[in-house]
Each structure stands twice: as C-alpha cells, then as structure tokens.
C-alpha cells in the first residue's frame, strides 16, 4: 500500500482546501517577514507548494502531467480557485513573485537565494468557515478521480484553517459527514490521505498527535478525527520534511507555526517529487 509511484502514466491528485474566513485576516508571525497575516501566509504556502509540485513535474524544458492539482477556497463562497494538470496551470494566474528561499550550499548547509514562485491563489478573508461545503466539493472531485484512476497513488488532501467550521455548535455533523465521504475514497494503493493544519501562534503547538488527549477544544478534536493516520510507508518522507511521526500519528497539526505548516505541506507533496 502507498507504494505506487506518481508519474505521467500513473498521475496523482493533490487537493488543497484553504480557509478564507474573516479570522484569516488576523496577524500571523512569519519567519521571513514576507507575510504577516494568516491569509497571506496561507496563500504564500499554497503558491509555494504548487510551484514545488510543478517543479517536480518539470522534465528538462518539458512539463509532464504527473498529477492533478486543485485548490478550493472557502469563506464567503466556496469555490475552485485553480484546477488542472501541470501543463494547464504552469502559467500562474497572477504571474510570479520573487521571494527568498533556501538552497543547499553543497557543504551541508543552506544559502539564501532569491527565487520566483507562481501566484495562483491570492489572500482573501471574509465571512464564515463553510468547511463542510469545501469537503463536499473535494469529495465530488475525488470520487470522480478515483473512479477513473483506480490503481494510482491515492489522492492527498490538505486543509489549511485557523478556526472552527460553521456547524461546530451543532456537533459539526455536516463537516464530519463530508470529510467521511472524502476519507472513504480509495484506490487499490490505499485510502485517501487527509492532512489538516490548524494555523495559530504556536502555543501550544501539537504536531502529528496520535491521540486526542492533548487537544482541548471540540474543533481541535474534530480536525484530529478528520485526519488520516500516517501510513508507515510514508514515515521516511515525513522525516525528510523535518517531522517526527510515531505509530498512530495523524496528519494533523494544531496551532501550527509557519515552519510547521511548511513542513506538513512539504511532507504531503513529497510523493510528487
């Protein structure tokens, strides 16, 4: 299980759900000071992840369609912000932006370099958190995709949020049910992998927990329950991204700092690289 290579003959699917609710306009401390608000950093992280996935699909001067990529934003509306194969989205919707990145210096360290990243997602924050609708939309997409790609590496879903779904006070049954629809999808290589990242100020930060004990709020427990247990087969990828999974660890981070969000996205998208 979870052994299929993602390739142009056996493409993968990455679905990123981005919270665009009002609270995403809150300040968020970024390590490189490039963004100081949650929606800005979330958009930067998503754009960087798409750029890196595309980079892994770049073969010489040719882009290869090794995966499908979809980004769904949820806030005032729930909408598909981007969807397509690498060859269809390699020209970023809003051009490129120069950011500072780190590059191995060949001597075991890193040097800071300027690099361009594509901009497909812009920072937005408005209204509530219709997480159930977003997972429902993802389920539609994934059900169709797994039906057409029954033997490929299973789809990977990221959910980046800073808050609680709209129906949390009603037991979040709609959110739970929509997430379950996503989780029930599978290929012959494994079930869909759902990674939830709750971004916050990092106190207390919980990374890849294996139980709910350390989680205080109903929304944290909900996100934990909605997250996949990380398969042993993917531990090495998690470790390469700087994470430390244990047996039973779920793909979930609570109060994640920008560094942790970046690590989780690196880990989740590593299969494409």
């Amino acid at each position: 299980m979870y052994s299929k290579q993602i390739s142009s003959t056996s493409p993968g699917l990455f679905v990123i759900l981005v919270d665009q609710s009002d609270s995403m306009g809150d300040p968020y401390e970024a390590r490189d000071k490039e963004s100081t608000y949650k929606d800005e950093f979330a958009a930067l992280a998503v754009n960087r992840t798409i750029s890196e996935i595309l980079e892994s699909c770049q073969d010489g001067d040719k882009m290869k369609d090794r995966c499908h990529i979809a980004v769904i934003g949820y806030g005032k509306t729930t909408q598909l912000l981007i969807e397509g194969l690498p060859t269809e989205i390699e020209d970023p919707t809003y051009g490129t932006r120069t950011v500072k990145g780190k590059q191995p210096d060949g001597a075991g360290g890193f040097s800071e370099v300027e690099e361009e990243i594509g901009i497909w997602v812009k920072p937005v924050h408005n209204n509530g958190t219709p997480m159930a609708t977003a997972f429902g939309a993802a389920a539609d997409l994934i059900e169709a995709w797994t039906a057409e790609n029954p033997a490929n590496f299973p789809p990977i879903v990221f959910n980046i949020t800073d808050g609680e779904p709209d129906d949390i006070n009603q037991g979040a049954s709609a959110t739970r049910s929509a997430a379950q629809r996503v989780a029930d999808c599978h290929t012959t290589d494994g079930k869909v992998l759902i990674y939830n990242c709750h971004i916050g100020i990092g106190t207390p930060e919980v990374i890849l927990p294996s139980s709910e004990q350390s989680l205080a709020t109903p929304s944290a427990k909900l996100l934990f329950q909605m997250s996949s247990v990380i398969p042993q087969e993917l531990f090495r990828l998690a470790e390469n991204a700087g994470l430390a999974p244990q047996t039973g660890s779920r793909g979930f981070c609570m109060n994640a700092t920008p560094e942790t969000l970046t690590k989780l996205l690196d880990f989740g998208s590593a299969k494409a690289r």
């Binding site: 390739s7 003959t9 770049q58 598909l80 997409l141 033997a151 490929n152």
Partner: protein, 425 residues
C-alpha cells in the same frame, strides 16, 4: 573476436525524448571498430538530467582516455557544455519561471555513469579499464562461469539515494570508482569466451536478482541481436509474475569476445507473466474542468455525468440487441409466409393438374362422340359446337399452364437459399 550490441528502451508510457538513460555508441551508430562504451542514467528529479546524461556518454566516447587522465578537468568541460545549453534555454524567453529559477539557483542535473574502454589486445586477452559512479552496473562473465559486478554486488544494494555526477561543481563531489586489468587495476584481462555487460539500474537489479534466485538469464541477454528483440524482452520482463523488471528507462551494452560460454548460453529467460491488472488511465482533464466551470453547480455534476455516460452505454447496448432480435424475427416471419404461399400454390397446382386431366379426358371423349355423331348424322353444325367445347378445354389447360409458370417467378431453390442465409447484424 568482439561482437558488441547496444540497446536503449524507455519507460512504458513515455516517449523517446522522455528517456533519461543514455548510451554510447547509440544502437544505430555502432561499428565493429568501437572500443569505448558508456551508459548514464539521468536522475529524473534533477534539472535537465537527460541532456546531462547524453553529454556524459558522448564526451566519453569521443575521447575515453581523458576520463582516466584527469577526471576533474573532463568533468568541468562537461559541466561547461551543459551550463551553456541550459543558459540558452533559460534566457530564450520560452522557458517558464521554474526553468529560470532552476538556472539562477544553479540547480544541478545528476546522472549515474559507467565508461568502459578496451585499450589493448595481446596473447593474454583484452586490457580494459572502467570508471563508475552510482548504481549503473558493469558485469564481467568469465569463461569459468563466474560473474563479477561493479559497483553493486547484490540486488539488495539498490536504493533511492545514489552517488551521481552533477552538472554544477559541488563540495566533495563523488569520484568515480576505477577498475580494470593490469596495468590499470588488479582484475583479469578479458579473455576468449568472456562477456561484458553494462546496464543501468533497473535492468542491472533484475539481472542480479535472477542470478541470486538461481534463475539467471545471461544467455538471453548476450544473444540479443536486434532492438526489437530487446524491446520484447523488456516488455515480458516487466510483466513477470514475480521479480518483474521495474518500469524504468533501460540502457544495455553487451560485449561478447568469441563464442558465448556454454554455461551462460544455456541461461535463458522463460516468461511467467502475471494475470492482467485493471488498467489505470489518466483522468480526462476536460471532464474534471467541466465540473468546475460553474462553481455553484459543481456538486455532484461529474459523478452524475459519469453515471449518465454509463447509462447511455447500457441503453445503447440493450437497444442494439433489441434491434438485432427484431430484425431476425421479421425475417423469419417473412420466410414462413413465403413458404406457406408456396405450399398453397403447390396444392393448387396438383388440384388443377387433376382437373386438367379430367377435362382432357372429357374433351377427347366428347370429340370422339361428336365425330361419331357427325359421321352418323352428317350434322356439321353439331360437329362445330362440340369442337368449340374442345377448344375451350384446351384453352383452359393453357391458361392453367401459364399461371403455373408465373407462380415460379421465385424458384424453389432460390427460396431455399434465402431461407438459409444469415441475417445481417
């Protein structure tokens, strides 16, 4: 006598220009006077690795001795050539931001490499030397039946992190392992009936694994003559039930020095294909796109459209069957009606034949009677009246005969042919 062959097959599902492996000489360029052979496997996740692999093998073939004289100088020349090519691409205006990023950040291409050269031939055999970086393998099959391999000795040694030659200078670069016969190394020279094989990682691993399991296929590999034969072997090896060849690019060079040793010649490949797996096909991006063209109407559209497609297929299938059944039924009914008509006509024929005979008998009898009476009474008028009756009877028979021939416009044999011909589908 040296007999050499080189082969290159790319990953199933890819095209020729996707192939990251490179070989020298290229299969079409091989001549009997070639004494330098090289394979390189571009690391697929690195930057423009295909170009890098091709530069490495071509440069080695052009002047193999330079690799052994000063590896570093030779490598810097290869790197300069690659960098110039990529700079042109990055500044061409056609490159996307990823290529521009990669060049600005000096992202390297990486490749494994083997270069082998035959330097001299004397009474001891061929003097040889080779430079190796990474998990592409060099095999030497001795006439005593032994198999030697460099740098990998066991199929379990293959892993995802391998030493490679990079296209930008780096601190502590991998230096090639050098092996060879005296005066370059401690290995024995290549003697009559020895064979040498160069293979990139996927094939090298498969060959080693088969050897370890006691199912070696050296004979099959060494007897390969045509590219088609190698492609067929690769296809079958990838379809093996157990220990199948990984779907990867494959470069192979085989060098036989005289007749293949009988021990190896007998080690041939017997395919044991696995049962067919369900084929994985890429999703149609157009279908996925359509789902999202109207954000408000996105939910469920795709799945329902797929269901509709299935229903249409099913309905079409059912409708097609129905049409064939209906057509066959109508044809049978028509044939039945035609047979009934024929039987009816046949009965009428028999009946009229009988009547005809009666009329003939009666007419004859009446004529004879009339003649007798004419003779007897010499009544001419009576004779003419009876004669008219005869003519009427004859005419009746003629009319019947005409009708009978008319009824056979569709001859019975033709009806038979029609009834036995198959209905069209």
């Amino acid at each position: 006598m040296l007999a050499a062959r080189t082969f290159l097959v790319w990953k199933d599902g890819d095209q020729w220009d996707d192939c990251q492996d490179s070989i020298y000489p290229m299969p079409d360029d091989l001549s009997g006077e070639t004494y330098a052979y090289a394979v390189a496997d571009g690391v697929s996740t690195s930057f423009f690795s295909r170009r890098w692999a091709r530069i490495l093998t071509r440069k080695f073939g052009e002047n193999p001795e330079r690799v052994f004289e000063d590896w570093q100088v030779w490598l810097e020349e290869a790197q300069a050539e690659w960098q110039l090519q990529i700079e042109k691409i990055a500044h061409s205006g056609k490159a996307n931001f990823i290529v521009a990023n990669g060049f600005r950040a000096k992202k390297p291409a990486a490749a494994t490499f083997i270069g082998l050269t035959l330097t001299d031939h004397n009474e001891d055999g061929w003097t040889w030397r080779a430079a190796l970086v990474g998990d592409s393998c060099l095999f030497k099959l001795g006439k005593d039946g032994d198999v030697s391999s460099w740098n990998i000795k066991s199929s379990t040694e293959f892993c995802n992190v391998v030493p490679s030659v990079e296209s930008w200078p780096r601190l502590n670069p991998y230096a090639p392992t050098q092996v060879g016969s005296a005066p370059f190394g401690s290995e024995s020279p290549i003697r009559e009936s020895d064979s040498v094989i160069l293979a990139t990682d996927a094939l090298a691993k498969w060959l080693l694994k088969r050897h370890e399991l006691g199912q070696p296929v050296w004979g099959t590999i060494l007897k390969l003559e045509r590219s088609e034969d190698f492609e067929d072997l690769v296809r079958r090896a990838r379809s093996e039930e157990d220990n199948s060849l990984q779907n990867d690019d494959v470069a192979l060079a085989t060098l036989s020095f005289g007749a293949i040793h009988p021990v190896f010649a007998e080690q041939t490949f017997t395919p044991r294909p696995r049962s067919t797996e369900p084929k994985s096909e890429a999703a149609d991006p157009v279908i996925l796109r359509n789902l999202w063209e109207q954000p408000d109407a996105k939910a469920g559209l795709l799945s329902s459209s797929l269901e509709r497609t299935d229903r249409i297929k099913e309905l079409f299938s059912r409708t097609g069957s129905k049409f064939v059944l209906q057509f066959t039924g109508i044809l049978l009914v028509l044939l039945g009606l035609m047979l009934l008509q024929l039987m009816k006509r046949s009965a009428e024929l028999k009946h009229l034949t009988r009547e005809n005979q009666i009329l003939r008998d009666q007419a004859t009898a009446r004529t004879l009677a009339s003649k007798d009476r004419a003779i007897d009474s010499l009544s001419i008028s009576a004779l003419e009246k009876e004669s008219d009756a005869f003519h009427q009877a004859v005419q009746a028979v003629s009319v019947f005969e005409y009708k009978s021939s008319d009824s056979e416009q569709i001859p019975p044999d033709q009806l038979q042919r029609r009834s036995t011909s198959k209905p069209r589908r």
